[in-house]
Symmetry: C2
């Protein structure tokens, strides 16, 4: 048996207003639902990016609802991004005074551009070839 494709990728942020602004207005993700201050959900291509308030999500107690979870510290996510798109992102981040955290030219080929979301999560834009995946 083999699990199906990933349906939900999760990040945590205590300030969901700031998180929503970053993922919706800067990265262009479509908001699917929001329950302030507990979560904001994005539908992105054929899957979901879910941003939860870590403490409020960890405190879930309803036995017929989803089980609790919640992590603190900086998480990480990466979006597919060609070199040309990375150049566009660099301009977009500069226009919005978002600092570039790191640029990595991988020894095996391929490039990654890193910024931080408002919660401090590491957000990467990478060529898919860094994982030997087709573009």
């Amino acid at each position: 048996m083999r699990a199906g494709p990933i349906l939900e990728t999760i990040l945590y942020a205590e300030d969901l207003t700031a998180a929503r602004h970053f993922y919706e207005k800067i990265l262009g993700l479509a908001v699917y639902g929001e329950t302030t201050p507990r979560f904001v959900f994005f539908r992105h291509h054929d899957q979901m990016l879910l941003v939860f308030h870590p403490q409020l999500s960890a405190a879930l107690t309803a036995s017929d609802g989803p089980p609790p979870h919640g992590a603190t510290g900086s998480g990480h996510v990466c979006f597919r991004s060609s070199l040309a798109e990375q150049a566009q992102w660099e301009r977009r981040f500069a226009e919005n005074t978002i600092a570039i955290d790191r640029i990595v030219d991988w020894p095996g080929g391929g490039r990654s551009l890193y910024v931080r979301d408002p919660a401090g999560n590491s957000v990467e834009f990478a060529e898919s070839r860094i994982w030997d995946l087709p573009e």
Copy 2:
């Protein structure tokens, strides 16, 4: 501008041997690379699931490598899974004495099956229709 599809989904686990066993042997994911005790990477369908040791990943200091990140507490991930597949997973978890954490029948339709990975991350198997996504 709109970010490309998610390329990397991240979880954290201090015991990467146990994490590898769970994701490789129980869930059937393909190991792409492993550097004990810092990370184990899985190539899954057209993307990556990366499991990092949170403290060792947060302690990265090389200025030409990836920036540090690392979260503690239970994270969350969800895999696409039809009802028939969820029934298969239930049998598989029973055979491996992995407890079912929760089953949720969503008010809007669709079902989720939850277990915990060895690090305590909440691992969900859900019908894609819970997000109005096609199967």
